[in-house]
Symmetry: C2
Subunit: 307 residues, 2 copies
């Protein structure tokens, strides 16, 4: 891929992105952070054979999912998107599909009102999409903000992503509901704004699975999180444990010192919001799950964290 | 590479970076853009076998060069660094060398006062370093700001990067001076500040080669750039054409409507600053090179641009 072909491909992507792409053409993009707000930035790579397989998803779905994984980190900080940069490293065998990948990236960005402001195109031996997102918030949500007494909530219904992946690995067609959760998860940007405005002060998004992310929250905040396993919102066909270990869900876990108005949230977004437990003081950070007051294992493998 | 090993590697990198790494631990990094300044952001991927070969450079040199390529885009916008994010996609065979790569990234970032604020670690089949840099400037320098009558300047001495690469490809040891230009080019961040403060209003950094970057400037500004080939600063052992086509030099091309104080610049930075030509009005963007008033080919292949 020489400069000519590279520039042709960049032009093709810009045409497809249309007004979703802004301010390209200099060595860097120029953005303005709203006065009084802080800048939030995150980068996330999606790698062929690790994060996706060509035979499982369309190019647009691969691009959509890579961009959503990055946007979800903005949601987890309760930040509004300012812009996205997309570094694509591609083998020659993918060149004809890159415009499709760009369509998916553009769809995810546009659906969240996020302009594409920059990028980079390289050759490689397998497709790597490194997506960087920038956003802003007056007070970004943190993992370390959980306080004893907080109620713990989770958005949506979990477990579909894992069930779809398991079906694909068996060579079967996933249930359409599970497939949508796997191939087309939305980043919860607007939901996070609402939750932050209504009292939630700690957040994390579910990329590694509910149980694992609860562990990150507990470790960062130095608290013990007690979860009612029976309250975990489970997709049809899954279990509490399946839901707790399903990765790349891109739903949010939030904690709040005040009770959140679940009915108002569900009316606003058509999405479940479920209280699943409470934070407690503890000598060591921990996540403990109970069903009818009996300890159960959510599949985390260990319940204590040292860092 | 499971989460355990991944987290261990991240911890190892953080230890090596020490105070150079700041604010990690949330889904995104939180930064503040100085009041009255604009945010500048750029992303740049370095891919094994394309941008570097393991047998040619140490892990630290590979990391240093990847970070410098990104930092150089901040220099080209005359921006001060705010932070860097490093997305590493690595094969298992590179795992033991990732701390060395991290050392090089950290050295490049620290030398420019740029904290490392975030990153991402994935598995892959070849090493890909996607480096995103954020900076700020009151008035970022642009490619499109060249005006007829501007003098064109270039920093440093060109051609060493290409000569080093050619020696490596022949299986020979490069001349040490050329090798330093190839393996250890500094991003011209502070030089760009000085140049912008003293009158330079258009800038670009040399990643694709002087001739090619002049073409980008001409196209973005809609001007004709006339270059005196005899004035191009050439490294010992190279030629004007060799210097004009040598890529990944990371020197700056700047244009200014006022004469720059070359002696003051060279005293300040111990680095050459050379006037190599002038911008002119033109019906079509172009780069023309002359030696003793005779047109010469700088190796660009074509002199006119349509976009």
């Amino acid at each position: 891929m020489g400069p000519g072909r590279e520039f042709d491909l960049v032009r093709a992507m810009l045409l497809r992105w249309g007004e979703a792409a802004q301010g390209l053409g200099d060595d860097g993009a120029i953005l303005d952070v709203p006065a009084g707000e802080r800048l939030v930035v995150s980068t996330d790579s999606s790698v062929e054979h690790v994060h996706f397989r060509r035979e499982w998803m369309s190019p647009a779905e691969i691009g959509y999912r890579a961009a959503t994984a990055a946007l979800s980190d903005l949601a987890a900080m309760a930040a509004r998107p300012l812009g996205m940069l997309v570094a694509i490293s591609t083998p020659v065998s993918w060149l004809d599909d890159i415009p499709g990948v760009a369509d998916g990236v553009g769809e995810a960005a546009s659906s969240q009102g996020c302009p594409i402001v920059g990028g980079d195109l390289s050759r490689s031996s397998e497709l790597v999409l490194a997506v960087t997102v920038l956003g802003s918030a007056i007070a970004p949500a943190r993992r370390s903000a959980v306080v004893a007494g907080d109620s713990i909530y989770v958005t949506g219904t979990l477990g579909g992503s894992a069930l779809a992946l398991e079906a694909l690995e068996r060579g079967e067609s996933p249930d359409p509901e599970h497939w949508m959760r796997f191939a087309h998860p939305p980043a919860r940007i607007r939901e996070a704004q609402w939750l932050a405005a209504n009292g939630a002060h700690a957040m994390i998004d579910i990329s590694d699975g509910l149980a694992s992310e609860l562990g990150h929250l507990a470790a960062a905040s130095g608290v013990e999180l007690r979860i009612d396993a029976g309250r975990i919102p489970v997709v049809r066909g899954s279990t509490a444990r399946g839901a707790a270990t399903s990765s790349e869900e891109y739903e949010l876990i939030v904690t709040s010192p005040v009770a959140l108005d679940v009915a108002a949230f569900e009316r606003e977004f058509g999405l479940r919001l479920t209280a699943i437990g409470r934070a407690h003081d503890a000598d060591r950070p921990a996540v403990l799950a109970f069903r009818d007051d009996v300890r159960v294992d959510l599949g985390l493998g260990h319940d204590h964290f040292t860092s």
